[in-house]
Subunit: 336 residues, 2 copies
């Protein structure tokens, strides 16, 4: 590692995060399950495969249009399990709370968590609460860790993307990231921006019931669509081709991104998924997904190629192509 200190960029979900994970964490905790680097770990026990996933949530502000840190913490981990093809079952929750945090706000967060858990059909069955002195944490951090079961015929992984696969996204991009960033900047827009936080397990169940030809599922959170596609390109050793004109972006999101000089491809989503699916299954899958309340705007945004392996290329709106790299050197901390 070149730097001697942890930098914000190490937590961005982009290139520096991957370096930290690959060079330090994976080499120390050296085991084959961790090394797959999917959204969750998969292990097998008594003929049953399980998915297991953890995330800490540090978002600022805690309350934002479309949600709060509580439902984000439930939906985020539910989605990581769903991206393994798992049916999420149980969650643990760990709170680290700063002394002086208003109990009213804590109650609101708890209620949102319970509501989100009920909506996703999962139970919070164990927990831990630590309180740290004023000034040693910023209000509240939440860890959730989840466990789910993977049906035996399902094998979903970033390693499984194949040439010719269509790349599908379940709706508009950058909604969560731009909402958080504009709130933090104190900006207001005429058309209100809103986080897309949502549990995607019922959408995944619908997709898996529609076709067995889904190869990869991933939710493009920290680092956005660009970083997620780079991860899949790296895991599968395939190329990814994106069509710029096909990217679904709300007008108000595009406007806010232009104003702030941000690329929506790198902004977090909290209620969207990317799927790599066999081309012959894509049309039926699109139709089925568009019936789901969280996926009306599902569309094809690209394809997996045997060319430029390990790299994401975008066909731009004006007919050129450019390389789409991982998020790098532009940390957007505490987005989730």
């Amino acid at each position: 590692m070149n730097p001697t200190k942890i930098l914000l960029d190490h937590g961005s979900g982009g290139r520096a995060s991957h370096q930290l994970i690959n060079e330090l964490i994976l080499t120390t905790f050296n085991n084959p399950i961790l090394a797959t680097l999917d959204d969750g770990a998969v292990f097998q026990l008594n003929e049953q495969r399980f998915a297991f996933s953890t995330d800490s949530y540090t978002v600022v502000p805690l309350f934002f249009p479309g949600g709060n840190i509580g439902e984000l913490a439930i939906n985020g981990t539910v989605n990581d399990l769903a991206m393994c093809g798992a049916k999420p079952l149980y969650l643990s929750v760990g709170f680290i709370i700063e002394e002086g945090f208003p109990i009213d706000d804590f109650q609101k967060i708890l209620s949102s968590m319970q509501k989100a858990a009920a909506q996703a059909g999962i139970m919070i069955i164990t927990g831990d609460t630590k309180v740290v002195p004023r000034g040693t944490a910023d209000k509240i951090f939440i860890n959730t860790t989840g466990i789910g079961i993977i049906p035996n015929h399902i094998t979903i992984s970033g390693t499984n993307a194949r040439p010719g696969d269509k790349i599908i996204i379940s709706g508009t991009i950058a909604d969560h990231g731009i909402t958080i960033l504009t709130r933090r900047e104190g900006l207001q827009f005429e058309s209100p921006l809103q986080s897309d936080t949502a549990p995607l397990n019922s959408l995944v169940a619908l997709m898996l019931a529609t076709t067995p030809q889904i190869h990869t599922l991933r939710d493009p959170t920290r680092g956005g669509v660009a970083t997620t596609l780079n991860e899949i390109a790296g895991q599968s050793k395939m190329g990814m081709k994106l069509y710029e004109n096909a990217l679904p972006i709300r007008d108000e999101v595009r406007g806010a991104c232009e104003l702030l000089g941000l690329d929506p491809l790198y902004l977090a989503n909290e209620g969207k998924l990317i799927a790599c699916v066999a081309p012959e299954a894509a049309e039926a899958l699109l139709k089925a997904m568009q019936q789901h309340p969280y996926a009306h705007e599902t569309c094809i945004i690209g394809e997996v190629t045997a060319d430029h392996r390990g790299t994401v290329i975008m066909e731009t709106g004006i007919g050129g192509t450019r390389i789409v790299d991982m998020l790098s050197g532009e940390p957007l901390p505490r987005i989730c």
Copy 2:
């Protein structure tokens, strides 16, 4: 809840923590598995019972005699699973790191975690790393969440303590708590104090192989032996009688406690367990435990009674009795 803000005492593991959990968290996340309040949750799937447990570690200082936050985070969650009678299998780890944290220290913590995991025979299979800006967290917080399997004939719970059960402790008390507190106060003693952090799963396996008559297992961490026995008294609706003269306390720990005005009954342990065991099995169990490297000083410190139900009473060294309450109003933050 009387206060309107979260207080340090809400995280002490004592009375205020229990109030917060019972009045706010349990009523919101209302489900029967969470409500058992054992060290981990127990759920069943395909005829197999699982234990699932989470803890966040915020200890100050990060490095202390006998260990660091990394091995504490592994051993603590391994122990919570073992206290359910489970064989721990897999852990997740979530880091929240303050910008600027030295990578050398992070590497030391990772190495300790890997060493502790190997010693306990478990694997870290999934993780998450968040970095927050300088001043919004204190150096590093670690969450670990673990999963283990419970053999079908084992039922261990705080609810199972029965009148006549012997209360066994696996060694000296207060070692971890007094080590952390004296380090924080900058005190040095002639006989060095040292944390007792250790994985107890092999000790539990030995105990379960020795006798089927173990009713309750619990590790007396935050809040110490006094709080843990109050928890068992509350869960089982039994009385607990402690013999003050039987409590194993190192001389140097006793001395430091007197100097600082602290009661060792309320100080955290990180490598000890309390067992409630049928009286006819106690002698054989003691002998077996004393052979284990982490339990040479195992002894009987009391018994479960049908009197003074829900209460812990101590027979004092001078022949009187006194009520031993939960930790209350004396927060010792960031002890683990």
